[in-house]
């Protein structure tokens, strides 16, 4: 039998060192007795360090996740943890068991204990309560008394060093004391009980704790499952709990029974004072009025899930009006047409075709974004006939207001809205048609169609067609303004 005695401070690191040496010697796991700290040792140990059963030497190889879980489990209070970890490590290194296989009792136990230790560490981070100590230097001093369930002080306190870097503090536990002075974290065995001075801020904290509690929602079990009673004795707020629980039902009942009161006298005065001045009302028929009315449009259900109606924009005397399908994800958020990926492509192609965005009026056949929510994304959906019909009213208003010399319909939806039929787009593209009132209408592709094309050659072809069409629109506009 081998006997290994591990120190109280630095237990895990020493275990790693010893386990590695034992494995190199090839000592099997049932040949080792592990102890931590001072103790009587095993009465039956023969004291000799020579082992009778020596197998072949093993080099310990562990994955990072395995090592981290095993190290956590070594902080558990279970006295068997060292032997179990050594046994599992040997079997893992020999390839007898796969890490993460919960059907293996040893692995499962380590995973469970690592979880329990993780929870204990988390609870220490949560439930340590510092009290301020008198300090005569710049750095303020704080101290706390805490009783963890497992041996976690060394694993849990670096968190406090990161969090409370600009103050000196110590956390005293029944076995180990962690001290942080001038940026250095050190551990020592606890020699005496800590006596902490009173701290007045605790009264404020107790006030906060009592006030943030809603007596109408009493759920004691939910509290105790997360804040078990074993932690209560070191929490300054915990002695309020019984009284809060006891009085909660009557407080809630009193609230339910109370009759509504009439508003205080000042309420009317405050509201009158705060009332917004009546908003500016634009003249009926003006672009502003149209925009405002469209913003409140509820003619079809598309307004509900969308953020806002996206109205057209451009100079009121523009000769060319560009009509797309509907706003997309980005347009819906920004509130302006063609500012997303399709808008970028449009700007790029239009500029090289000699059609400048600042000179055209650009809008959509449908003013609200139609989509299907999918997780954190919105999937574009094509507007149906009734939605296009409902929204045509706004497009008609825009046309009357701008009176363009030429309308460019990008894609089938725009074409349907403007001519009554969006069929056969690819055959009609590049052609000059007419709207019902006789305005010349140029048919072209929608830029997002080009973006969607997977085939590179097809996309290039479509893009060049699109550019030709926009160039035709630009020349129409140049020719037309030349005529004037």
């Amino acid at each position: 039998m081998r006997e290994v005695r591990l120190p109280v401070i630095g237990t895990v690191a020493t275990w790693r060192h010893e386990a590695r040496l034992l494995a190199v010697e090839g000592v099997p796991s049932d040949e080792v007795l592990w102890h931590c700290g001072e103790g009587s040792g095993d009465l039956f140990a023969d004291g000799s360090n020579a082992s009778n059963n020596v197998a072949s030497s093993i080099e310990i190889r562990l994955s990072k996740v395995a090592l981290s879980s095993i190290q956590s489990a070594l902080c558990h209070s279970d006295p068997e943890r060292f032997a179990r970890a050594y046994d599992v490590v040997l079997r893992l290194s020999r390839g007898d068991v796969r890490w993460g296989d919960r059907s293996d009792a040893g692995v499962r136990r380590i995973l469970e204990q690592a979880k329990a230790v993780g929870r204990d560490i988390h609870k220490m981070h949560a439930f340590v309560r510092f009290r301020e100590l008198p300090s005569d230097c710049d750095r303020r001093g704080f101290a706390a008394w805490f009783e963890p369930e497992h041996n976690i002080v060394e694993a849990a306190t670096p968190f406090f060093a990161k969090r409370f870097g600009d103050m000196d503090w110590m956390i005293v536990t029944p076995t180990i004391t962690a001290q942080f002075f001038d940026g250095t974290l050190a551990f020592a065995e606890t020699t005496e009980d800590a006596r902490l001075p009173k701290d007045d801020t605790e009264d404020l904290w107790r006030t906060y704790y009592a006030s943030i509690f809603n007596p109408a929602r009493l759920m004691v079990k939910a509290m105790t499952s997360e804040m078990p009673k074993k932690y209560w004795k070191n929490l300054p707020e915990a002695d309020l709990i019984p009284e809060l629980i006891r009085t909660a039902p009557e407080r809630a009942a009193a609230m339910e029974a109370a009759r509504p009161t009439s508003p205080p006298a000042r309420a009317a005065a405050i509201q009158a004072m705060a009332a917004k001045p009546s908003p500016f009302v634009p003249a009926p028929g003006s672009p502003e009025a149209l925009r405002r009315d469209a913003a409140g449009c509820t003619r079809c259900p598309l307004y509900r899930p969308a953020t806002q109606a996206v109205f057209g924009e451009g100079p009121p005397d523009a000769d060319v009006m560009i009509v797309g399908e509907q706003p997309g994800d980005r347009e819906d958020l920004v509130g302006r047409p063609f500012v997303g990926p399709a808008g970028e492509l449009f700007d790029e192609v239009a500029a090289s075709a000699g059609l400048h965005r600042s000179r055209v009026y650009i809008t959509n056949a449908v003013k609200h974004f139609k989509f299907k929510p999918q997780g954190k994304r919105r999937i574009h959906q094509r507007p149906n006939t009734s939605e296009i019909e409902a929204c045509r009213r706004w497009l008609d208003h825009e046309r009357q207001l701008i009176r363009p010399k030429l309308i460019v319909a990008m894609g089938a939806t725009a074409l349907q809205s403007l001519t009554g039929s969006g069929d056969g787009l690819l055959n009609r593209r590049g052609r000059l048609e007419q709207t019902q009132d006789g305005t010349p209408l140029l048919v072209t592709l929608h830029p997002s169609y080009i973006l969607r094309l997977k085939d590179r050659a097809a996309a290039l072809k479509a893009r060049s067609d699109f550019q030709d069409d926009l160039a035709a629109a630009a020349s129409f506009y140049v020719a037309d303004s030349g005529m004037r």
Binding site: Q271, G335, R378
Partner: protein
């Protein structure tokens, strides 16, 4: 008005803040003060430093800057027409409380909200000043959550996002009609626009500048919102539709559901009822199904209201027995996620184990499955539910036993 003590103000202004459910302090930017030049850390998983007897966690110092308010929202204790006692913190007082509480390890940071005083901009200016003082004067590196006011000026929102980890705007009611009725001064369109704005700013802050540098962070822990449940007539389907819309539209980190709770000095418009806590709980479960289990709102709440007796996943499985039993050795991830009693971790472990060997019934419990719920819906090596899946009384195994109605 007599001058109130700090303790009294804290009492009034934390009492006024307790109807906000959010207390998250996780995620966002990783910061610490190991170098000794500041105070605080954040960015890991959040920590709940205490639990109140209502079972809610206390992670942040959740207070109002002031409970004076010019709005008249019927469900709110701070509405202008309420008789509640009013108070107001100074900037210094909030900063002091935050820092002193933080140093004693009571909290993860500050969650600051406020009634609207004078105008939205005036209120936002003061809130931003508190956040800036904490960051610049106190070198505070803990968590800050600011409630933003939808109508505040864009520069103020910009600054709020610069100092805070999370911004939130409460949408309050599941439908616009409800909002118009109960919160006459609030405007659903404006709230949604403001959320869209925060999403755009967050996305812009993640792009690199022309020189390849990272831009200033904007609300690195995202934005969230809260819906009050049970104050208006909206059903669970409407609420969940609203949530999935908000997650998709504005990339929210969380939607919180808050059961409408009786408040002292209630308005005449609203009934004083016991808060529908179980309904709230079912909504949170359904919300998880939407976000992590591939369900959509129409599936979980196909009947309008969620089943209060069994959880929404079990309810779905009971309604769709044709899809079960699921063979745990063959089914794909999507289907495994729909098995009652299997969580995302169980499914992950199951798939990992399947790569090495076949999975037996007794392997499932150690993987974290709740076999009481799962057994009727799965086939594994050594287990077949036989007729159990289609048993007419299967629901009774899960639902609480019927209770005799009281005669009075």
């Amino acid at each position: 008005m007599a001058k109130l003590s700090l303790n009294k103000k804290l009492e009034i202004l934390s009492d006024a803040a307790k109807y906000d459910a959010s207390c998250a302090s996780s995620g966002g930017e990783r910061r610490d003060s190991r170098d000794g030049s500041g105070l605080g850390s954040s960015g890991g998983s959040g920590i709940c430093h205490a639990y109140a007897p209502d079972g809610r966690c206390i992670s942040l110092l959740k207070i109002l800057m002031t409970n004076f308010c010019i709005y008249d929202c019927a469900y709110c204790i701070n509405r202008v027409s309420s008789q509640v006692q009013r108070a107001r913190f100074s900037v210094e007082e909030v900063v002091k409380l935050t820092i002193e509480f933080y140093r004693r390890n009571y909290i993860e940071g500050l969650f600051l909200s406020s009634g609207i005083i004078r105008s939205p901009d005036d209120t936002m200016v003061d809130m931003v000043r508190i956040a800036r003082t904490l960051r610049e004067a106190e070198n505070f590196r803990g968590y800050i959550h600011l409630k933003t006011i939808p109508d505040a000026a864009p520069e103020l929102i910009d600054e709020a996002g610069k100092w805070a980890d999370r911004l939130s705007i409460n949408i309050e009611m599941p439908t616009e009609a409800g909002l118009a009725k109960l919160a006459p001064e609030k405007n659903g369109r404006e709230i949604r626009k403001a959320m869209g704005d925060v999403r755009l700013r967050r996305e812009a802050s993640r792009e690199k500048t022309f020189r390849g540098r990272a831009k200033a962070k904007f609300a690195p822990a995202g934005q969230s919102t809260q819906i009050i449940v049970g104050a208006d007539a909206a059903d669970d389907r409407a609420i969940l539709d609203q949530s999935s819309n908000l997650y998709a539209n504005y990339a929210l980190s969380r939607v919180y559901y808050s059961a409408f709770s009786p408040i002292p000095d209630a308005s005449k418009v609203l009934p004083l009822i016991r808060p529908p806590l179980l309904r709230e709980h079912r909504l949170y479960q359904a919300d998880w199904l939407l976000r992590f289990y591939g369900f959509d709102a129409g599936e979980v709440a196909s009947k309008g209201m969620l089943d209060l007796d069994v959880d929404p996943k079990l309810a779905w499985a009971l309604e769709h027995r044709g899809a079960f039993p699921v063979d745990v050795n063959r089914a794909d991830r999507e289907m495994l996620l729909r098995v009652p009693g299997f969580g995302t971790k169980t499914v992950q472990r199951l798939l990992a184990a399947r790569r090495h060997r076949r999975v037996r019934y007794e392997d499932l419990k150690p993987m974290g499955a709740v076999m009481k719920n799962a057994a009727a819906f799965i086939v594994a090596d050594g287990w077949s539910p036989r007729g159990m899946t289609d048993e007419a009384a299967l629901r009774n195994r899960f639902a609480p036993p019927p209770e005799q109605l009281s005669l009075i």
